[in-house]
């Protein structure tokens, strides 16, 4: 089957598990502001390209990278430069 990025594109849900592990919050309901265009959205609305090396999450308004995350053995790397700010809601904190 031929496929292109259209097929592979996901929503913020596509990285929900990874982000929950890293942040300890249910991140898809948290808000982030794009450092590029200033649009604010819940992270669930991000457009995500994810695979074994890591994931890139893009602003649904302008397409710029909001965050990049890579996973290696026993560690994570995060590039959050695409976010002007990230709001972590206490209600979204995860037990455990």
């Amino acid at each position: 089957m031929t496929m292109d990025e259209t097929d592979l594109r996901l929503d913020g849900n596509g990285v929900a598990g990874m982000l929950a592990e890293v942040f300890g919050f249910e991140m898809t309901v948290c808000w982030g502001c794009c450092a590029g265009c200033g649009a604010s959205n819940q992270l669930g609305a991000m457009l995500v390209y994810a695979h074994g090396m890591g994931a890139v999450a893009c602003c649904p308004a302008c397409g710029q990278h909001l965050l990049r995350i890579a996973r290696g053995e026993g560690r994570w790397w995060l590039d959050l430069r695409g976010l002007a700010w990230l709001q972590l809601d206490e209600q979204a904190r995860m037990a455990g």
């Binding site: 089957m1 496929m3 259209t6 097929d7 592979l8 594109r9 996901l10 929503d11 913020g12 849900n13 596509g14 929900a16 598990g17 929950a20 592990e21 300890g24 249910e26 898809t28 309901v29 819940q42 992270l43 669930g44 609305a45 979204a92 995860m94 037990a95 455990g96």
Partner: protein, 245 residues
């Protein structure tokens, strides 16, 4: 141990739904419950340490420590042929979750509710409808379910029962590849005309949840916005390239 850690679930039942789809009923010790629309990450480990991970939407409404997943077996899949072919009652399954609070609908969010699912994209929508029924809610709800053919429709009997309850749910199928003799329903992929006929006018401000293969989800979401629906009231869960109806 919480939602963030991998934990072992017991496979209590493996129940075929269609020729390609099985429901896995799992007992998850210490499960704190979940919300309709959320998913779990499932991880398989081979004897040599090789691992493969996939996300699966929870099909069941919250029910103590019991969680049901519905898995479609994909021809060239790596994980799904194992889950929907090899796994059996008494086995254990490693999972993490629930996660995905963004794609959640509960009756107290109100409606009217428009659910559009393609293929296995109906799974999280089913959790929403099961919760709606369990709560005795009559928030008006319309499910538009796109499937290859009638044999591939998952949860068909249950959807008929839910609709027959007369509490404001209607179910419409779009059968895209083959239709039974005498079929008078939609026989094509979901398009703007169909969404307009089946859904609510933008003035009703419905909450829309669209789930399934990425191509379908993006097309439907695009149509809904073009028809005048508020983008902030359209939530999507793209499944990627799998399960194309």
């Amino acid at each position: 141990m919480g939602r963030l850690s991998w934990r072992l679930a017991d496979v209590v039942e493996v129940r075929p739904e269609t020729g390609r789809v099985v429901t896995l009923a799992l007992a998850v010790p210490g499960w704190d419950g979940h919300r309709p629309g959320q998913h779990v990450d499932v991880r398989l480990t081979a004897e040599d340490g090789y691992q493969a991970e996939r996300a699966y939407s929870i099909a069941s409404a919250p029910d103590g420590s019991r969680v049901e997943l519905a898995v479609e077996r994909l021809e060239d899949g790596e994980v799904s042929p194992y889950l929907a072919g090899e796994l059996r009652k008494g086995d254990q399954l490693e999972l993490r979750g629930p996660v995905g609070g963004y794609f959640v609908w509960e009756p107290d969010r109100g409606g009217p509710l428009l659910l559009v699912g393609g293929g296995s994209g109906v799974v999280p929508l089913m959790a929403m409808l099961r919760q709606r029924a369990a709560d005795g809610s009559n928030v008006p709800a319309r499910l538009l379910y796109s499937s290859r053919d009638l044999e591939d429709v998952i949860f068909r009997e249950e959807l008929e029962r839910l609709e027959a309850a007369g509490d404001g749910l209607t179910v419409t199928y779009a059968l895209t590849r083959a239709q039974p003799a005498g079929w008078t329903g939609y026989a094509r992929r979901v398009d703007a005309v169909m969404l307009e006929e089946v859904g609510w006018p933008p003035g009703e401000r419905p909450l829309a949840y669209v789930c399934g293969p990425t191509r379908l989800v993006e097309a439907v979401a695009g149509h809904l916005v073009a028809l005048g629906h508020d983008p902030s009231r359209v939530r999507t869960e793209r499944f990627g390239p799998t399960g194309v109806p």
